[in-house]
């Protein structure tokens, strides 16, 4: 009823509506708005699809091949693979407890050394430096990411090794009461000879730290610079000093970046090979004393043992490599989720 009245008011009669409707019905099909794909489009779309397919195929081939070959070794070793410290696949006694522990030990040293450096540099770049200095700092940090790891390894082996041993001796002399920092022989007597301090996880960790600082700095810098201008100005307008503003505005907003950046770089630190291989003297037992000679990492183990390896030993090495890959994979995915969440501003709304 109502619709009839309104249409009558606007001058549209029932007959006209019926006419229009029939005109629509008989006026032909609805036009499709999609144009027919041209030949070049079909070729392009299918080429691109094939490229994507090849990429996925390569990547999946790596994953599948590693898991299949690693399966042999894990099948033999079983659960012992995770708790055994020795590595002698010939006698079927092998496990990654010691090498995995060593990997995390080196990564932990690297994180402790690199986090203050990257945190300070990122805040300097976003909050203090302006203009040309800011651009230069960003360029230098990016450049550092491109320096080959063998160059860092060379520096660590020939320079750092000799110069950091006195510091390590000093730390263990004064802080030896902390178990991790002590350097003792098997009987528990403290060692002070310089040869007990070379090729340690500590030295390898410092070199790895220099390699992961750029990743941390650039992720942190990106999230810090996204802290909202309004809140910054409000804090400064209330009389906050720069540090109070950073503490109360920038850091809460950038928390995701700090965590995500650290985790991404942790993934790199775990996989770093050549510098660790050059510096460390490999051992196959768990060494809690970070300053003491001897340590190991999964990647150094692979570089050390792949050459003389039989088929089965190679499969054991693959199992170790696969474990490392799965760990870095989990860390990277968690990190990218954390970073993505911090970017959408989820924390700022709470």
């Amino acid at each position: 009823m109502k619709s009839a009245r309104t249409s009558a008011e606007s001058g549209i009669t029932e007959e006209l509506l019926v006419d229009l409707e029939s005109a629509f019905r008989t006026g032909g099909e609805r036009r499709s708005l999609r144009s027919a794909p041209s030949v070049s489009d079909v070729v392009f779309a299918s080429t691109a699809f094939v490229a994507g397919l090849i990429t996925v195929a390569i990547m999946l081939a790596v994953g599948t091949f590693l898991s299949l070959r690693a399966g042999d070794a894990i099948g033999v070793a079983g659960f012992d693979f995770l708790v055994e410290q020795r590595w002698s696949p010939e006698t079927q006694q092998f496990g990654i407890a010691a090498v995995l522990f060593g990997t995390f030990m080196i990564a932990a040293v690297a994180m402790v050394v690199s986090l203050p450096l990257s945190f300070g540099t990122a805040l300097l770049v976003t909050e203090v430096a302006r203009g040309r200095l800011q651009r230069w700092l960003i360029t230098i940090v990016d450049l550092m990411a491109a320096v080959p790891s063998v160059v860092f390894g060379l520096w660590g082996l020939f320079f750092l090794q000799a110069n950091v041993v006195p510091v390590a001796q000093w730390i263990s002399h004064y802080f030896g009461w902390i178990p991790v920092l002590a350097v003792t022989d098997e009987a528990g007597a403290p060692l002070s000879d310089a040869s007990a301090f070379t090729s340690s996880s500590f030295i390898a960790g410092i070199v790895v730290a220099l390699m992961i600082v750029p990743t941390q700095t650039s992720v942190m810098r990106e999230t810090f610079s996204q802290a909202p201008l309004g809140e910054r100005e409000a804090a400064l307008g209330l009389g906050a000093t720069r540090w109070m503003m950073i503490k109360n505005v920038v850091l809460p907003f950038g928390r995701g970046g700090i965590i995500g950046g650290s985790m991404l770089s942790l993934g790199r630190a775990l996989g770093e090979t050549i510098a660790v291989y050059m510096i460390i003297s490999p051992i196959f037992s768990i060494n809690w004393q970070v300053l003491k000679t001897g340590g190991n990492s999964v990647s150094a183990l692979i570089a050390l043992r792949y050459g003389e390896a039989s088929d089965f030993a190679l499969s054991a090495l693959m199992a170790a490599g696969l474990t490392l890959f799965l760990i870095t994979l989990a860390i990277n995915f968690t990190a990218s989720i954390v970073v993505a969440r911090s970017r959408s501003g989820a924390e700022s709304e709470a």
Partner: protein, 397 residues
Amino acid sequence: MLTTPTRGTAIPDLSTVEEAPKRDLRGVRAEDVFNLLGALAAGAATATLLFGWIAPLTGGVGWFVVAFLSFIGVYAYLVKLGAGWQEVQDRVVTVLFVSAAVILVSALVFVVVYVVSRGSVALPNPNFFTEDMKRAGPLDPLSAGGVLHAILGTLIQIGIALAITIPLGIVTALYLTEVGGRFARFVRTIADAMTALPSIVAGLFVYSAVIMLITHQRSGFAAALAIAVMMMPIVIRTSDVVLRLVAGNLREAAYALGASRWRTVWHVVLPTARSGLVTAVILGTARGIGETSPVLLTSGVTAVTNLNPFNGPMISLPLQVFDFVRSPEPSMIVRGFGTAAVLLLLVLVLFLVARLIGGRGPGRLSASGMRRVEQASKRDLARIERRVSTQTERSER
């Protein structure tokens, strides 16, 4: 009675108000400079005084640590003399930020300078760049032998790796951004996952899948495959980011003019993103050249020049560095540093080129590019005018 307010803004008469001299809000006060310099001097003095007193703390690093700690302490005290705790906190934290950056930058500069200066003993010999190590033993002086074989090996390996990764990587990135769909999201996830692959595991994969099963010998091609597996995810991810930066309205304008999807990609998206794509490839190349661990397992070590990537071992620069410094001979170690310097310079040049190209945003042109575009549109104009004039002639006839 209320008076009706006058409309408009009343501007008070300011001519009687005295203006104070403007305060400088940004400049550095002399006091701050003196605080900083004094604290620096005090830190250095304290460290020198204590040097050797706290018995085992010797060596340059120890001196530096003591100097730094006492510098921070003295600086905090000096600031406290003239300001409150808030300001002390602010100043000390700022100084800590600056010192973090100084440590970082000087570490980088020091690493580069240390390697180049120790390698500079080997670099002035011209034979270092023109000979291989075939006739030079560990005991030979630096005037014999060189790293030509490693330089050539690096170029061949990275060339093959680029021939695989550039087409595959960029077309895959185009698939992710321009075609899209559920499978594209899957491809992106897989590519992201592969960035986590440790480089040594990539090498181990090629070693056991290609060398052990198919070729039965190490070769330059196997090394190139390992490098390509490492570079692929990097190139895909960075190109994906660059292509996504191309403004959507450019694409829409092309579609509105009736261009097909392929023509839009070829004439609009790719030219706009060109500089970014080049940067992505160059940065990937810099990473690929420096990778040692995948090459260590796959290329094999040799002292002779081998130009055939499919037959026999072929060494590259990073592996040559690693191989040289394993020798106890001082001359070999010097050669190792020289090789590292060559590698470093190569990476630096690549990085600078990437910076020069990638410094511009998507679609921005350099001066010469601008001229080229201008020339092209002038040609177009001339062509159109010619056609118009012939058509008018025809219609007049």
